[in-house]
Symmetry: C2
Subunit: 228 residues, 2 copies
């Protein structure tokens, strides 16, 4: 399948490598291709420069947000929360069409330091804001409640744990859920449908405790399980 | 131990009955004793009138917020989020003293219907607001992320699941954690110390997804587990 990924950071790369290995054709979208290719790596986090990473992944292409959106039959939004709406505007309404958009972004605001707050919260969510602005897109909020290594490999955490989906379209949520199962190995029984896109408020507001748990547990390799 | 419970609703009663059975002496606090005793039950939820319930629980006493706060060596705040600060003002700074206050309340705002929003959120929390207003009180936010039947009986949910504690005082959190273990049976390994009282932002912001999960699962008998 042709898949368009909006974003070029660590999460985007994790998705791209995993989906490339599954035989898909990937195009990553960015604001400015030349700038992204010129950007150095991050020696603190060990993140390769995008150009170095791209060279190690033959078959993955880089384009503008518009090109990635036009290319993908299914789209994944992994832009940073603050850049998200600008990226989607650049992707363009026509290119986004009525496609299923897996919205993995969180509206984290680091402008006041750590821990971040949420720039959209409580009576609204980033998922809803995207759906309002692009009413034809089939937005499905999902995977935003865990670290990238677990998103694409749920066996990295032991035992039963969960991933949430929120969206207005039943068919789009079924497509998204099947994608999670087939591409990443999420058991169907681990996928919890929270309801319409307004339930993205719930999953996005998991981030504040997620960040504190990262500190308390000294690792991001954990996930939420809903046990009964 | 003499325990003061601020509140008279379902959660207050669940705590009181459980702690009475463990041999403690309980005083529940309310705004106006006569009003609380005159209030009818709720036929929709099956909640007994307070007077009927009290009659079935010999040994539990009802008093004002101030009387309950003065009585308890340890205090439990289970007032509704909107009434919380008023209740604590009525309890009085002198009566609250430097006691450990288990803050189980959530700042839920039902004024715009269901689902509720949070009246304090994102860069603040109810736990922090209480701690700011009563700097001498040893506020420990805990147990606010599950239904009352699970708070006092973690075996009601199968397998490992978690309860969070947030607070500024190490000794107060140790007291609270020991209380959870000894009175309710929470395994020490299931108690996660999130950090100082600002981490109450994290546990209070679990409520939006908790409420959606209640809808999706059609039962409140579930809890969050953090799995690795």
């Amino acid at each position: 399948m042709n898949i368009g990924i909006l974003g070029t950071g660590m999460v985007a790369r994790t998705f791209a490598q995993t989906l490339l290995a599954k035989g898909h054709i990937l195009k990553l979208g960015t604001r400015n291709v030349a700038d992204t290719l010129a950007k150095p790596g991050n020696t603190n986090t060990g993140l390769l420069s995008f150009a170095d990473w791209l060279q190690s992944q033959p078959g993955i292409e880089l384009g503008t947000f518009a090109e990635a959106a036009a290319f993908g039959e299914l789209l994944i939004n992994v832009t940073s929360g603050g850049a998200c709406m600008v990226a989607l505007e650049a992707a363009g309404e026509a290119n986004l069409g009525q496609k299923v958009l897996l919205d993995v972004a969180n509206p984290l605001d680091f402008s006041n330091g750590m821990p971040p707050t949420l720039s959209i919260v409580n009576d609204d969510s980033l998922g809803e804001a995207i759906q309002r602005r692009f009413p034809n897109v089939n937005v499905v909020k999902t995977l935003n409640t865990m670290t990238a290594a677990i998103m694409v490999n749920p066996t990295a955490v032991s035992g039963m744990h969960n991933v949430f989906v929120s969206g207005n379209g039943t068919a789009a949520k079924a497509t998204a859920s099947a994608f999670l199962t087939e591409q990443f190995g999420w058991p169907a029984t681990s996928i919890i449908d929270l309801g319409d896109i307004t339930t993205a408020r719930g999953s996005e507001q998991l981030l504040p405790i997620w960040i504190r748990l990262w500190g308390a547990l000294q690792t991001p390799m954990f996930n939420f399980a809903i046990v009964r």
